[in-house]
């Protein structure tokens, strides 16, 4: 075993350990430790990805302890896992950097280091969800993820965030409960918790046909549990408040990473635990497909009705999660690739939009109403550029990430050769138009100059890039990430395909 193969283990442990250490550190040191830790995880994940691309090993398992897999714990790494780990750490770092100043304003100073504890543990749980090869380990880290996310929402304490956190907690625990029930039943049926062993047993069950009914229910409730946690359309009621009122770093992390962690677990469930051919045969994918399509339309319609820019971006997340589930629902490899690409594209773009929006509302005397952000792009130029590019990407303009994922969806739908092709294409077109309506409406509004006397009256002010260097750098890096995803899509898609092939 080469030394680089320790990377998954190291990255999980380092992020956990830094979370523990942060509890006794002063606020500034915790901040620095957090940044350094994420950068280390980032570099290590890149190294692992490079290893996979150059070496013959395409995936391997790592024993956590002295006992081999079905008895001890095990983690597993492949191209897809390494790439996701890199992406998660990049978006996490940028989200925290971009919202750092806002965090300082909105959160009591004595609670700052708790914020970094939560962020570190959240990263570790995301990494563990990405790397784990054991369903029970996954459940434990889902718990950490849920509680930490709840803390991130309510650390900015006002009535709306407490209410949002309570909602999030209730819905999320319902999801966790269903997931746990599903894991228990799956254990009862197969006698294993390790993903690859479960798959062998599931294949036997499916062939002999003994426990067909409980198997179907198990897959169903696990899928529904994870769908609730990642805010698929009819279960999305907790989302707008949770993303709309929490502090901006939390909103960016929650929308770009936390929900994607659960979706990644769902992909694992489909590919590695049950086996994609059985999933495709069952009717669960049809349900996901229908809900995904509904989410794409209703999420966008709610976003159009919204008069609050942060909540509008939050509702847009509902639509984008709908896209991802619609890709699963196609039931083909191409649909899955498109969905995974969309996870990356949405993660990179949504965090950018949240962070750019906060720049726009800050220079508009903190108001988030549309009428007040008129001309905000002139008052804070870099935030305006960031918001514009984020919107273009979400709408699906070429050269940005969103275009590629929409293109991949259309391609996958045409190649699917089933009744799903026409609904997909039609809804994709409608949803794109709706996206364009609310995003470009906002972009136009922030680029319409406001009269100087109105600006003076309402207490608006200008902010140049020199006053917010860190923020500017963050926005530029986010734009860069978006362009990388948009312009170098071919190698990335190849990577995803390679990862999926080695995923089983």
């Amino acid at each position: 075993m080469q030394f680089v193969q320790n990377v998954p283990f190291f990255s999980i442990m380092i992020s956990m350990f830094s979370g523990i250490v942060s509890s006794v550190l002063p606020e500034k040191a915790a901040k620095r430790l957090n940044a350094v830790m994420i950068i280390i995880v980032n570099i290590m994940s890149l190294w692992l990805l490079y290893f996979f691309l150059t070496a013959d090993v395409k995936s391997y398992t790592f024993m956590m302890g002295h006992f081999p897999a079905p008895w001890g714990n095990e983690i597993r790494a492949g191209v897809l896992e390494a790439g996701m780990a890199w992406f998660v750490s990049v978006v996490m770092l940028l989200s925290l950097l971009g919202g750092r100043k806002k965090l300082f304003d909105e959160v009591e100073e004595t609670k700052h280091n708790i914020y970094y504890i939560l962020a570190n543990l959240l990263l570790s749980s995301l990494l563990a969800l990405i790397y784990t090869n054991d369903l029970f380990t996954a459940y434990v880290f889902v718990e950490i993820n849920t509680i930490a996310a709840c803390g991130l929402i309510m650390i900015r304490q006002n009535g709306r965030t407490i209410e949002a956190a309570v909602r999030y907690m209730i819905m999320s625990l319902l999801g966790s409960g269903l997931l746990l029930l599903g894991i228990c039943m799956l254990y009862d049926l197969t006698g294993h918790l390790l993903m690859s062993n479960i798959q062998e047993q599931v294949a036997i069950i499916m062939q002999t046909g003994t426990y067909r009914v409980p198997m179907l229910v198990t897959i169903g409730i696990m899928t529904v549990g994870l769908a609730i946690k990642s805010a698929l359309f009819p279960f999305h009621s907790w989302l707008p408040d949770a993303y709309g009122y929490s502090t901006v770093s939390s909103a960016a992390i929650l929308s770009s990473l936390v929900s994607k962690g659960y979706i990644f677990l769902l992909i694992k469930l489909f590919y590695r635990v049950i086996g994609f051919e059985y999933i495709a045969d069952s009717h669960i994918l049809n349900v996901l497909f229908a809900f995904g399509l509904c989410g794409m339309i209703f999420g966008s319609v709610s976003a159009i009705w919204e008069n609050d820019i942060r909540r509008m971006i939050a509702f847009s997340s509902v639509a984008q999660i709908g896209y991802i589930y619609m890709g699963f629902g196609l039931g083909t490899e191409a649909g899955m690739v498109a969905s995974i690409f969309h996870i990356l594209a949405h993660g990179a773009t949504k965090a950018l939009l949240f962070i750019a929006a906060i720049g726009l509302t800050d220079v508009s005397a903190g108001s988030r109403k549309f009428i007040d952000i008129t001309g905000a792009a002139y008052r804070n130029k870099i935030a305006g550029v960031g918001f514009m590019i984020g919107s273009f990407s979400m709408v699906g303009m070429p050269i940005f990430a969103g275009f590629i994922s929409k293109f991949l969806y259309a391609e996958a739908a045409v190649n699917a050769i089933s009744w799903r092709m026409f609904p997909t294409l039609i809804v994709l077109a409608i949803s794109t138009i709706l996206n364009t309506i609310y995003f470009l409406k906002t972009v136009l509004r922030i680029y319409i100059p406001e009269k100087p006397e109105v600006e003076q009256e309402k207490g608006f002010f200008c902010r140049t890039w020199k006053e917010q260097k860190l923020y500017t750098v963050t926005i530029l890096l986010f734009i860069g990430l978006n362009l990388i995803l948009g312009l170098n899509s071919e190698p990335i898609i190849q990577l995803i395909k390679m990862g999926l092939a080695n995923f089983k």
């Binding site: 283990f9 250490v21 956590m64 609670k111």
Partner: protein
């Protein structure tokens, strides 16, 4: 032979005093004890009615239900739909449960090589007589590390929600007094006997976690309960002499870091098939089974601190 006695004499008799105490008319310790006046906390009808009115008012104001037919319909639909959802889910799960493998059948899928190895080789592999401890702290120690981090992150979240930093800054001593318990001498006498016993029992359960039923989680919960009893008896001021927020921070930091570092070492050596060099000792001794004993102590400390921290945070919003 009984003889009639005067009423005054009768009042002094022990029997009468006991009788009165049982009837609740007099307290034999009235002079020595500070008793709290009981006041009726159960809401009477008037209060309930007012709450109901407030609720209706809020719904009426927020949703404008009189003029808004949509919300009227929605609330009716909501009640029906929530009951329907629960009924459907319950029926589904009950039906599924009837299809699951029968309980206790030796041919069930769960009775496979995994469970067999835990039972047969557990003692040689981990050195722990208690198979459950061997499983959670050695075979599947990574999961347990996650679990103790769940406790840690939960405390952090409660800290965010409950710790009142503004009050601390004002140093409002008058308000602090309301959290202090009344000095109840019965409670104090009994606690003086019980508290050491509880803590020693908790330590016993933790230290024998690998030998007998118990372990870090249960022993830690016992010690935490003891700490809560102590606080309720002697007050926060006295508890703060040995347990402050700093203590909590450092104890959980040390315990979790030790767990993290020790297990990282063990995972690393395990993954590379190296000898960890930690002797397992003879099974059945107190000092045996390698890392399990120190890890149990760590888990116990984290659990005890978490229990106490939850209690004090909910009670007064700080340590």
């Amino acid at each position: 032979m009984s003889r009639p006695i005067s009423e005054e004499e009768y009042k002094k008799k022990l029997l009468n005093r006991v009788h009165l105490w049982i009837r609740g008319e007099a307290d034999p310790y009235t002079d020595n004890i500070e008793t709290k006046e009981l006041h009726d906390n159960t809401p009477n009808e008037e209060v309930l009615e007012r709450h109901q009115e407030d609720r209706e008012q809020v719904i009426k104001d927020v949703f404008d239900t009189e003029n808004n037919k949509f919300y009227k319909l929605f609330f009716r639909f909501y009640k029906v739909a929530s009951v329907m959802c629960c009924v459907v889910l319950v029926t589904l799960l009950v039906i599924t449960a009837s299809y699951l493998p029968p309980k206790g059948d030796p041919t069930n899928p769960v009775n496979n090589e995994v469970a067999a190895k835990y039972i047969e080789d557990g003692m040689q592999d981990t050195g722990a007589v208690n198979i459950v401890t061997g499983m959670i702290l050695d075979y599947r120690a990574f999961d347990t590390f996650g679990e103790s981090n769940v406790l840690f992150v939960a405390t952090c979240t409660v800290l965010i929600l409950m710790r009142d930093d503004k009050k601390k800054a004002q140093k409002n001593t008058v308000e602090k007094k309301q959290y202090e318990p009344k000095a109840d001498s019965i409670l104090q006498q009994i606690t003086a006997v019980l508290f050491p016993i509880i803590v020693i029992f908790g330590i016993y359960v933790i230290l024998n976690g690998h030998l007998s039923p118990g372990g870090g989680f249960s022993g830690g919960a016992i010690i935490g309960a003891g700490l809560i009893l102590y606080t309720n008896t002697y007050g926060f001021k006295k508890t703060q002499e040995f347990f402050t927020e700093k203590t909590y921070k450092w104890v959980s930091f040390c315990a979790l870091s030790f767990y993290c570092l020790a297990k990282s070492y063990s995972f690393y050596t395990g993954a590379h098939h190296l000898e960890s060099g930690i002797p397992l000792g003879t099974a059945g001794d107190i000092i045996s089974s390698g890392l399990i004993l120190p890890l149990n102590i760590c888990v116990g400390m984290v659990v005890a601190c978490t229990m106490y921290a939850f209690y004090t945070l909910f009670k007064k919003g700080g340590f």
